[in-house]
């Protein structure tokens, strides 16, 4: 009788564990947060640490050239308004995406560059994921290297952060996965030999060895969404910007690594 009771109790506990498992998905405590850097092999770390071996620095150099180039019918360069980026852009990327009052919505760093081009330089927006936009954003973000990520605290922005969090927690696609299932619950495990990691976007735009080029956070997010076999969003879609916002709030206080190298 006692044996039977033990078996019943054990199976109840087991069942409870299985049922409760999806419910215990919680955000990573701040003390346990780790940059994607800490998951990398020593060779890849060495590549990121050495500015003359980090291919992302080539993009930063090109970005500096573009910063000083006059464009658009206004005939102005970024430097004509913002002067030396080393001074004026320090810490800027660490608080993006930020709230744009005119649009009444959040914009990420790439969108801010393009808004500046349209509003102040009378130039056409640069296409997403092309070298020029990536180089400029890498150059800007590099000015914040080593500084802590400090998300924009504007009150109007908070509903968008919440929407991003909802998207992160929401199961989607043919595999019925949410971002949280990997990046909160299983970040210490591997997926097909690759570290899962915590989804801390502190090094974008990154030089990804698999891409053999710089790429934005949105490119990375779209990769993940494809992997989940879910309906993807276009570059610049509000949903992706909201997701960026939430991810940056997870990364609060962690140092910017741009241009980071990732496998």
């Amino acid at each position: 009788m006692r044996v039977a009771a033990t078996i019943v109790l054990a199976s109840l506990l087991l069942a409870a564990g299985i049922i409760l498992r999806p419910l215990i998905a919680t955000e990573i405590p701040s003390a346990e947060r780790r940059s994607g850097y800490t998951f990398m092999a020593p060779d890849t770390k060495a590549m990121q640490d050495d500015d003359t071996a980090n291919p992302g620095m080539l993009g930063v150099l090109d970005g500096e050239t573009l910063w000083n180039r006059k464009v658009g019918s206004a005939g102005k360069s970024c430097a004509d308004c913002h002067n030396d980026a080393r001074e004026s852009m320090k810490g800027v990327a660490a608080r993006y995406p930020a709230y744009d009052k005119t649009l009444g919505q959040p914009v990420n760093l790439e969108q801010r560059i393009n808004l500046c081009r349209v509003r102040h330089q009378d130039a056409t927006p640069l296409p997403y994921e092309r070298h020029d936009l990536l180089a400029l954003s890498a150059f800007l973000a590099e000015q914040s290297r080593g500084m802590p990520i400090t998300p924009d605290a504007t009150a109007e922005l908070q509903p968008f952060v919440a929407k991003g969090r909802d998207l992160f927690m929401h199961r989607q696609g043919q595999l019925n996965l949410a971002c949280t299932n990997c990046h909160d619950d299983n970040w210490d495990k591997h997926l097909a030999g690759s570290a899962v990691t915590q989804g801390i976007p502190n090094g974008y735009p990154i030089y990804r060895l698999e891409w053999q080029s710089l790429g934005s956070l949105q490119r990375r997010l779209r990769n993940c969404i494809t992997g989940m076999r879910a309906q993807n969003y276009d570059f610049g879609a509000p949903e992706l910007v909201e997701l960026e916002l939430y991810l940056m709030s997870r990364a609060r206080g962690m140092p910017v690594e741009t241009p980071a190298v990732r496998p």
Binding site: T52, A53, L58, L61, T65, H131, Q212, S213
Partner: protein, 106 residues
């Protein structure tokens, strides 16, 4: 817009073995890939990197398809005297880039 990064120690002692690191931006298109419509993407790669010290060739590498984009090449040499290292990358479609770096040997 082509960027190159060269890392040569600024100073060395006579007889020191020094590491020289070079990184050149290039897409390194293999010539084997096809577009969505099946057309071959033409090959566009760097074919050689030459390093000269005071005019004398000290290192050369020939590159072929399947080299990663933005090739990073490092090599070692012995520092014997002060002078100038000159680097030259040659590639398809008339690609030609140069860079140089000085070293002081004590």
């Amino acid at each position: 817009m082509t960027a190159a990064l060269i890392n040569v120690p600024k100073k060395a002692k006579n007889g020191d073995v020094i590491e020289i690191k070079t990184l050149m931006s290039h897409i390194m298109e293999t010539g084997y890939r096809r577009t969505m419509s099946g057309a071959l993407v033409p090959r566009d790669i760097i074919t050689s990197l030459t390093c000269r010290f005071e005019g004398e060739e000290i290192f050369r590498a020939d590159l072929f398809p399947a080299t990663a984009a933005n090739p990073f090449i490092s090599f070692f040499t012995v520092a014997t005297k002060s002078g100038k290292y000159e680097f030259e990358w040659i590639g398809d479609n008339g690609f030609l880039e140069t860079a140089s770096a000085n070293i002081t040997v004590e």
